[in-house]
Subunit: 345 residues, 2 copies
């Protein structure tokens, strides 16, 4: 035999009114600190509120004002770089009234539209969108409807704030490191991107641009070799397989993201190649796993934690002052040299 | 010069009423399909709704019924095992009206209370709580207020459903594998747990129990060696350091979770020990990284994806029928032997 659980009903304003022996309008007035309530009325209502444990629900508050709810849209919960950003956001919110809710698995225009709409529909006070792929007009519309900060998109929109690292410069730093070790055949694995707007705004596209530009400026233009897959471990695995099949394979692979570099290491292990003895590998992001000794990945630190704290500071500021000019924050990346890069054979 | 973004105001019921030239009460009646509205009134209101693009907000709907919002509480966004569960949940929700929101960073009673309260306060239709550490009375209260499924807690409560793998049996499978390879000094790293209730209900405690029981049944009682740290990479790292400092170190370390095993591998790499040549290592969970070739971790597959789909099916079922008896689902774990375990020296 099982118990039949009884559902506990939320105490409503109607219960408070009945308990206090007054009208719901009177209760509402007292709760809103409106004029026209007697001190006797106030004490009766407040006593009933206390006795019944009444708390106005977020849904009811949402009809009046703030919901103290913030939304974060992530493209992929499996990319541990986003956890660094979230840590920065959560740390800054600690001790405030705000509650943060995340959504993940948004990596196309349709699901991003659905998720941003869902967040607006739930009257969230502000949104942080991480590496969105939506068209600028959609982001602009979201930003004009609710205070929004976009991370990982070099947008020129005036409707929201942006926080990025300097992806173009970061890629250049990694090419300089590899060229400095004596590599010439340095290949790059990028995230496939065909949309012309995203080619100008997405971090992945700017990293590929930075790679190309740095190769040229190091006199390595003839060795430019870009494989287009995706910013996932699978993308890195398949990209490395393609590069290993070249008539003359590269001596170094610069993956556009650390998760991609993990896939590259997977393919090299399978091929029986040693790193960096046979081939050097580097990534981008500096996820915590990059510092894990069995991996020890050379990478570019884009300061995920700092990106997170910067974004949440901007968002709270924008919630207070939705009309202020859009902020464009670009943080400086730093190379982190570990054990997966060395001189070529 | 910056543009001053104009905030686009949501169309409200007041706008609809004004546009239709009727009262807000009349609009509300039409929208609720209430009695007492003329066909002329209905067509005027519906025309105004269409012309203004009015949609009742989730906040307003919440005051009447479902919000089509589900909440998932995660202890830690960095543990990739939870991503497998989320994949299973999201796959099952695909194509439904439901929107899923997650919170992470809840690993103590206080923050769990805050988060569950926040989810209830936002009128979510149902909750999935993953490995909560709250007291049974709190979980019971949550389950009686909103349809709830708890994953990763062997609870006997009647107020919510539970989905678990058989952690006791899974730990026994791993001890059997290691003992079968010839290991006798098999140590275990557990998550520190002192609360008597959680000692009976938490997966980590049941895995430690399963280890103890299996060691005894294999005649290895004198070699039982449990280090209590935490289910994180740091916990694995420090646990391994303690075990390596023993006068006679173990020949195999069975970590209670894959993230813990990663920390063990980190410490062994630092100590210059080879795996499994010098020492065997195994985990629990079968996170996707366990199959990553440079790691190739022997572990126990608890089927995270299946746990996720099972939980969301139960939750949708419970939303439809909140009074039905509590379901207790226990899934069978399977050992996955990869490259980190071998015979002792």
């Amino acid at each position: 035999m099982h118990h039949q659980p009884a559902t506990v009903r939320r105490v409503t304003i109607v219960d408070v009114a009945r308990h206090a022996g007054v009208s719901t309008t009177a209760v509402s007035k007292v709760l809103r600190n409106a004029y026209g309530t007697s001190s006797q009325m106030r004490s009766r209502v407040n006593a009933a509120v206390d006795e019944l444990g009444y708390r106005p629900s977020a849904a009811a508050r949402a009809l009046r004002g703030r919901t103290w709810t913030l939304g974060v849209m992530l493209p992929d919960v499996r990319n541990p770089f986003f956890a660094d950003i979230l840590d920065g956001v959560a740390e800054h919110l600690d001790g405030t009234e705000y509650q943060l809710f995340m959504t993940s698995g948004c990596d196309d225009v349709t699901s991003e539209a659905r998720v941003t709409e869902a967040m607006i529909d739930r009257s969230m006070d502000g949104l942080i969108l991480i590496a969105p792929v939506s068209r600028p007009a959609h982001l602009e519309r979201v930003g004009r409807t609710v205070p929004t900060v976009v991370i990982g998109r070099h947008s020129r929109s005036t409707g929201f704030d942006t926080v990025n690292d300097d992806d173009f410069a970061g890629a250049g730093l990694m090419v300089a490191h590899l060229a400095g070790l004596g590599h010439r055949r340095i290949a790059h694995i990028e995230h496939r991107e065909t949309d012309p707007v995203r080619l100008a705004e997405m971090p992945n596209a700017l990293r590929a641009d930075g790679y190309r530009h740095a190769m040229l400026s190091h006199g390595l233009g003839e060795h430019i070799d870009i494989v287009s897959t995706g910013y996932t471990r699978d993308g890195g695995y398949h990209g490395a397989r393609i590069l290993l099949d070249r008539p003359v394979p590269p001596t170094a692979i610069f993956a556009g993201a650390d998760v991609v570099a993990l896939g590259v290491l997977d393919a090299l292990t399978e091929a029986g190649l040693s790193v960096p003895g046979d081939i050097s590998v580097s990534g981008y992001d500096d996820i915590t796993l990059a510092g894990f000794r069995p991996i020890s990945l050379t990478t570019v630190d884009q300061g995920g934690h700092r990106i997170g704290t910067t974004a949440i500071r901007l968002l709270l500021d924008r919630i207070t002052d939705p009309g202020r000019p859009a902020a464009r924050v670009k943080l400086a990346p730093t190379p982190v040299v570990r054990a997966t890069t060395g001189p070529p054979r």
